[in-house]
């Protein structure tokens, strides 16, 4: 157990294990996404109020859920990097930011596309939508701060602090649809009590959410591999690796 933990700090080992995981996980993630989306789009009944337009839920909700979870991944990796000074933890933190930002963007765009037929407007200043936009700014802020520093080791620590400060906002985003009653529908899936979504629609949605988590993991690992290569570009193992690949 502890040797595994210590090995995580070794760039070549992490680079290799991330590659192995990626090779297995990516096909599984894509298969799950394919099944979930096809199931959701073709084999579920139209919603009794929203007709077929609700089907964008199979992209919108998973993207939004994983965009929020991605922030926690970034902040927890940042905390680990600050506390135990693990270089590979700040690699994970930095790799999570663009993936999270992209998912937030997808959630906002699909939300706008969904909003047009159901609410009659591309954009409304609803609590959940506005707070997702703030989430996008939080991700972009971390990326901008990293770029602004010349000393990249200090930059990573500064980003870790910023992402930890930002976690204060995340529970507010989670609960915004329940706390401020507005256009956005309240959460349909509940861990306790009855979900307000029919099982025939719920199962493909859950499958899509799981596949987005897997895809997030894949993108995170791929991003981490790039960052590791970039950081270790002067070391022997990277030059051997790149040399053998050419």
């Amino acid at each position: 157990m502890w040797t595994f933990f210590h090995k995580l700090g070794s760039p070549p080992w992490l680079y290799a294990i991330a590659g192995t995981i990626l090779r297995w996980l990516l096909p599984i993630a894509l298969l799950a996404l394919g099944v979930g989306v096809v199931w959701g789009l073709l084999y579920t009944a139209p919603d009794f109020r929203q007709g077929n337009s609700y089907r964008i839920i199979y992209i919108h909700v998973p993207a939004a859920v994983v965009a929020l979870a991605g922030y926690y991944v970034m902040a927890i990796a940042g905390a680990i990097s600050l506390i135990w000074k693990m270089k590979m933890a700040d690699v994970a933190m930095l790799a999570a930011a663009p993936v999270g930002a992209a998912l937030t963007f997808v959630a906002l765009v699909t939300g706008a596309i969904w909003g047009k037929p159901t609410w009659g407007a591309w954009w409304v200043w609803d609590a959940r939508i506005t707070s997702m936009l703030i989430l996008l700014f939080l991700y972009l802020g971390v990326m901008a701060l990293y770029e602004a520093y010349d000393n990249k080791a200090a930059a990573a620590r500064a980003c870790a602090i910023l992402s930890l400060v930002g976690t204060v906002n995340i529970p507010i985003i989670y609960k915004s649809v329940d706390w401020w009653y507005s256009l956005h529908q309240p959460a349909s899936i509940k861990f306790t009590g009855e979900s307000t979504i029919d099982p025939s629609m719920l199962y493909p949605l859950l499958l899509c959410i799981v596949s987005f988590y897997l895809l997030f993991t894949c993108a995170l690992l791929a991003n981490m591999r790039v960052e590791i290569l970039r950081r270790e570009r002067r070391t022997g193992w990277v030059q051997r690796l790149v040399g053998s690949a050419v």
């Binding site: 700014f137 602004a148 930002g166």
Partner: protein, 228 residues
């Protein structure tokens, strides 16, 4: 070091910050002048109709206060970084957590309390209904405390950077938004005759939280900036 001499260190720091602020009266007045100028922009941009302006007055004043707080925060540690006194704070015996408190307090006095006390004047110019004026002062006084702490985190993260200005605004604004929501919400509630105390209570809670956790983040950020 004994407790008494620690107290004298904090007292000396507080006196130093106050002296620095009072020696440069123009800089002291900058937030107020900025506030006044931006307030002028709104009637020009939105149209001078008094009934429209009075509806938006509370929100406008809160947004302007937020902007002036953000601009004031940017240079909070810059002077100390340039002349090396920041390094003295970093190697001091006392915890940095407490050593940044005088900075925060003086920053809040200038860009928070001073603006809050002057805000009734601008509220009058924009035609804010009188029921909202007292709540405006109270919400600005509390909310600017939160904003001073958050702005100081942004300033501490970017203190060594040459092009930190816009970056601070970009980093700090998302964190200011909840404060703006509840601050402007308090004024709106008071104008509409609804209970406004819950809003002020939430601002107070945010202030307590910011004051408890903020200095830890500021201290950590300052140590990083000093390394970089």
């Amino acid at each position: 070091m004994s407790g008494a001499s620690s107290r004298s260190v904090y007292g000396a720091l507080l006196r130093r910050q106050l002296t620095l602020a009072l020696r440069r009266p123009v800089q002291l007045l900058n937030p107020v002048l900025f506030f006044a100028i931006v307030v002028v922009l709104f009637p020009l941009g939105l149209g001078p109709a008094p009934d429209t302006l009075s509806v938006f007055a509370g929100g406008i004043l809160w947004i302007v206060a937020l902007l002036s707080n953000m601009l004031g925060a940017e240079t909070l540690f810059q002077g100390d970084y340039d002349d090396g006194s920041l390094d003295q704070l970093l190697i001091a015996e006392q915890p940095l957590y407490f050593l940044v408190m005088p900075h925060l307090l003086v920053q809040w006095l200038i860009s928070g309390l001073l603006l809050a006390l002057l805000s009734p004047l601008f509220a009058l110019m924009l035609g804010l209904p009188s029921a909202g004026v007292g709540v405006l002062v109270a919400s600005l006084a509390l909310g600017s405390g939160v904003m001073s702490v958050l702005g100081a985190i942004g300033a501490a993260l970017t203190v060594g950077l040459r092009r930190g200005g816009m970056l601070v605004a970009f980093l700090v604004t998302p964190f200011y938004m909840p404060v703006l929501i509840f601050g402007a919400g308090a004024v709106r509630a008071a104008v509409e005759g609804l209970p406004f105390l819950p809003y002020l209570a939430l601002l107070g809670a945010m202030f307590s939280l910011a004051l408890a956790l903020g200095p830890a983040a500021i201290a950590a950020a300052l140590r990083i900036s000093a390394d970089a």
